[in-house]
Symmetry: C2
Subunit: 359 residues, 2 copies
DNA sequence: TTGAAAGCGTTACCAG
DNA sequence: CTGGTAACGCTTTCAA
């Protein structure tokens, strides 16, 4: 049982200097041919492996990147992380995972890890910066998926507002006029954007929005369910619901089923994100698909460039989304009013004349 | 803009030795009170942060663990990883992610990373070892979820066979006799175990299994769909299907719907794993639930102990599973009418026959 | 093209 | 309890 060989061992064995061994092993192209091969063979034979800590200390680079998400348990990140991992790997970086649980303290810790040399760069997939962090710092940091306003970090993202508008426009084109929205936890920026897209599409079509038609969720299943309940209890329940993410959309669909309502027969539903298996749901969910793998790849590419000291272009990279037409959307029922009566929660049936009617 | 302070800077500023500073900062309890506070304050004031690479080189520990899965993109791992991450974090370890894509080469790379000091320990969630790896090595490695036979590594897992048997027994108790199985990619060990549980439960009940009743899948959605097709095309199609994982179960349910069959009205379905949102499916999936977070926690605890050089008990840790009774299982059709009556109010266990979806 | 030697920033040993 | 100092294993000037 021998001790792990180091460069010095190879050097002594071959009667060359450690410097030469180091050079030979790092393909610096500075070692002449007879020596080069001998060193390589010796390294192979001795089963030499460089000590990463020593190398890191000397080169002051860790060749690692830190990927920080707000919740590792959320499947939404999977494809993104996968794209990042593959790209990092190709560039020779190993991947450290960070999980903030939406705790600013923990986010600070990850910034500290970056400073401390645990990683050479970081990709942030969290929505905002703790106050303690100066957003203007020129750190090797890329923001993906989310947005951190007024920060100097480059962003890789989608146009949430436009995508949301597209989803809602689809419902409008199908003939829906009573379209509700279940938003994310506004005023979080992404939620605000998606909600803005909802409003924009309706405004452009000249369709009014009763205030109760926008319910605030939290991106989780149960909030979809609860918001759905509130929506369907309205005197004029919507014929279509645009949920700010797929998980809430599932909650909605689930609850509609419980209420004895068919999807999309009675109510159409559109989600956002196109998460794993959303295609496998019954019915398959119509939703906005993000190019997640590509977002991951581009973010990592960008970070790679920054870590190599290349010029970083501040302008955000906006990747295209796609509306996946599946089976939870259909034209509204013509006999809708009859159903509303049958549903009748409150006795009064006033139709708000300034709302919900196309001019 | 100053250079990052190092221990020596603090030492000089205070007129003490670097050794003392190091001791003070690492809570060794070897520094007396006047000095201790002074050093801490100075460190604070100078915003000192230790250089991890130097520390690692010197201590020969990385304080990092490596988590290796076969596919980071699989949501199945999420809770497990989360449990590991939290536990690692509590113990002061950072988390490196490894992704093998079922490539033995890559698995070797991760073993190399371990040897090279990227991490102090590794948790393997892959099913088998590349031939190049000696399974008898006394490495700080824990196997979780999967099984690596004849290896010296401790395991944290569930009893796949017993759990599968429980799932199938449930179907038998409901009155099913024609029970099919969609297995994973046998002869992979986990798939074999689950299949064995299926056979055991049926054998114990004295129920025979036509050879066509066991179809080999690959744990993916589409294979569930395809196997379902083959199963339902048999002259005597099953009245219940036990899929070796949830994803295939979803494929099955989806396909049954397409075939115009109700779940569980016409065919009962049971899955395995209880993945994220499987509760949100419609109908909610009856499945075997693994204590994933706990598996993660225990595996990391075990690894922690091994990394601290504590005695490692070879005996596998077997964690309990739970059969989650949800809404995809019911008595076979013959007895269906009785059930509907008994079920009374909550007769929502059947799928609405709104095949209008398929236009 | 190669070698000698100086660090990289810590920690740990050995004295005092 | 504290200080001096030698590693840890590697890369990278600077000379030859």
């Amino acid at each position: 049982m021998r001790r792990r060989p180091k460069i010095k061992d190879i050097a002594e064995e071959l009667g060359v200097s450690p410097a030469t061994v180091s050079r030979a092993l790092s393909d610096s192209g500075l070692v002449a041919e007879p020596t080069l091969t001998r060193i390589r063979e010796a390294a192979q034979r001795l089963d030499y492996r460089p000590n990463v800590s020593a190398r890191r200390l000397r080169t002051r680079r860790s060749m690692a990147v830190l990927l920080v998400v707000r919740d590792v348990g959320n499947p939404f990140y999977l494809e993104v992380l996968k794209g990042m991992e593959a790209t990092a790997r190709d560039a020779g970086y190993s991947v450290l995972m960070g999980n903030t649980e939406d705790d600013p303290e923990r986010e600070i810790e990850y910034f500290d890890m970056l400073r401390d040399g645990h990683a050479d760069g970081m990709i942030l997939m969290t929505g905002k910066l703790p106050p303690a962090i100066d957003p203007a710092q020129a750190l090797p940091v890329v923001v993906a998926l989310e947005m951190i306003e007024n920060s100097a970090f480059p962003h890789v993202q989608i146009d949430n507002e436009a995508a949301a508008a597209e989803a809602v426009s689809h419902l409008i084109e199908l003939g829906h006029r009573r379209i509700a929205h279940i938003s994310g936890p506004v005023p979080e920026i992404m939620s605000v954007r998606r909600r803005a897209g909802y409003h924009r599409a309706l405004a452009q079509a000249g369709i009014g929005v009763p205030p109760d038609y926008v319910q605030r969720g939290d991106y989780l299943l149960n909030s979809g369910r609860d918001c759905c309940d509130r929506l369907m209890a309205l005197t004029e329940p919507p014929t279509a619901i645009f949920a700010a993410n797929d998980e809430m959309a599932f909650g909605v669909i689930h609850q509609l089923h419980r209420l004895g309502l068919a999807v999309p027969g009675d109510v159409s539903v559109v989600g956002f994100d196109d998460i794993y298996l959303s295609e496998a749901f019954y019915p398959p969910l119509t939703t906005i698909s993000q190019p997640r793998w590509e977002i991951g790849r581009q973010a990592m590419k960008l970070l790679s460039a920054m870590m190599s000291g290349e010029a970083k272009d501040r302008t955000p990279i906006i990747l295209p989304t796609e509306l996946k037409l599946r089976e939870t959307t259909a034209p509204p029922k013509r006999a809708a009013s009859a159903r509303v009566q049958a549903n009748g929660i409150s006795g009064r049936r006033t139709v708000p004349s300034d709302n919900a009617i196309k001019e």
